[in-house]
Symmetry: C2
């Protein structure tokens, strides 16, 4: 498998990204390759300086890079020699099997939609968050960084692809899908969730268990929780901020440590035709390493083919 990485994206890149690639290269299969996209001279210098060379690492020279603060659509469409632009086009062309970046998230999302394209029939590609459950495993929350306004058909597809992700990447059997709401009872909610509940409740495409609440992120009530991207964004940022408070105050144990994003390094853009991973802007070398290994795992799961089959199936059932 050929795993692409934007060497230039992230607050601590390219040093952290190159080191992460080197660390990941030691845990790959012999046939696997890591392909770094970025300024070749800079990358090679870092490798030579630190002895981070590996026969599994290739470099594709990209003279430009997109800054963290640049306007995503403008930067992506104009900087055609940037690491994100070239990386996503190589992914599209099949030259690599996955592409990861801790750089400009907006540009990655724009490129995911414009270049990689949504799976036919999948309305709104989305991202998800992994929330550690107290008793092990994760609650998968989507959407979190995209889609602040959604309609019920979009939420339905979040439930489909969240289930596919939980099952194929994390081995969760028949994932339980909950609708994030303000009460457990069927008739609770705002106008959107009341309507969404009725669309989700009779689904044969996933295992819908009903409404869940803000208190249910950490317990084992659901495996997948779906919500609009506005609520998901607030939830995720609240959780990340509180985790940082705990770390700062030295209030940690093995459960709290599982909130560290470095463990998985990055999360996929779901609903597009290939494996694209987005990492945290503050990614460390360990985070880059784990994002690359995660991208391998996500790619192996074959999510685009699975969601295509699922969409074709429910479209047929409806017609």
């Amino acid at each position: 498998m050929r795993l692409g990485l934007d060497a230039m994206g992230g607050d601590f890149a390219p040093k952290a990204s190159v080191e992460g690639a080197f660390l990941a290269s030691r845990d790959l299969n012999p046939d696997d390759r890591i392909v770094l996209y970025g300024d070749e001279a800079v990358i090679q210098h870092i490798m030579d300086e630190h002895g981070w060379n590996s026969p599994s690492i290739e470099i594709i020279h990209c003279p430009e890079s997109i800054g963290m603060g640049e306007q995503p659509t403008k930067a992506y469409t104009q900087k055609r020699e940037s690491s994100i632009f070239i990386g996503l086009h190589d992914l599209k062309a099949g030259k690599i099997d996955a592409f990861s970046s801790a750089g400009n998230t907006g540009a990655m999302l724009v490129g995911s939609v414009y270049t990689i394209n949504p799976v036919p029939g999948f309305i709104r590609p989305c991202t998800l968050a992994l929330i550690p459950k107290i008793n092990g495993g994760y609650t998968f929350l989507l959407a979190v960084g995209t889609n602040p306004d959604v309609k019920t058909d979009v939420l339905y597809q979040f439930a489909m692809i969240g289930s596919i992700y939980a099952e194929s990447v994390h081995g969760v059997n028949n994932p339980r899908v909950g609708l994030l709401n303000i009460g457990e009872e069927d008739e609770k909610g705002n106008l959107f969730t009341l309507s969404a509940f009725n669309v989700l409740k009779d689904s044969n495409d996933f295992n819908f268990i009903g409404n869940v609440e803000g208190r249910d992120f950490f317990n084992d009530k659901a495996d997948v929780i779906v919500c609009d991207g506005f609520t998901g964004n607030v939830v995720l940022k609240q959780m990340e901020a509180f985790y940082r408070v705990l770390v700062k105050r030295g209030l940690r144990d093995e459960y709290i440590d599982r909130f560290n994003y470095e463990i998985y390094g990055g999360t996929p853009v779901l609903g597009i035709n290939a494996t694209v991973m987005i990492g945290h802007g503050i990614s460390s070398a360990a985070a880059f390493r784990n994002m690359l290994l995660s991208s391998r795992q996500v790619n192996e799961a074959g999510i685009p083919a699975r969601i295509k089959i699922a969409i074709d199936g429910y479209t047929e059932n409806k017609s």
Copy 2:
């Protein structure tokens, strides 16, 4: 001041409520009275058994009580001899100055609107949450338990009354009001917050500082954060659940301990013509004590008169 308390409401009532009333009675001014609403024989028996009698405590016999699981509107309108119904009617009649309950929240909200009535011009009475800031004080988040769908004029009034509450009850000077959103930039948001931002931004009725995010609940960026009640409910339940996880795992310090709802015991229903306080269903004696003392403090702040002046003022400016 005469502080009414529903002695029958809450998972551990009437024992915890009666003990809480006794504890509070020792910290009141000599002229203050606590008025317990509930089954007189039961209350008197508890008082005698534990020696919790106080000359500052009166009992108003109420033969009925509303259970935690009862349908609020039905229970409130039909149980006219319940502690909540009689208590709120005594408040309306001026026989008491404040009424608190840890019982059926829905029935308390129904009674607040039907019996106490909104301040004229205040569209949607609401409740708020107190989120401890790391450097002291609270972020006041509203709405949290009501109003899952709101329009921008309602959110505007949340900002007004949140500012009045922060200033008059907690002594915050010129409270900074933030709009809960998914990015700091003015143009970020979902359809609702984009529209709300434009309504809030030029206000002379409060000190609007712009968008805030889920990461800003704990820092000192804003004093008051406004959002629709759906998002607020999810945020509050997530926070409460995570606090319980920390307590269970022994991960506490002086900051984390400030998330204990017992410290303030209850929060007011804002935007109505009198002081109504709602407590947690699991209220302990300490929580009841502190809710009663909080009700005194909230009543002294004179929020109904203040919001009336504020509403009259902005209505005049508009016309």
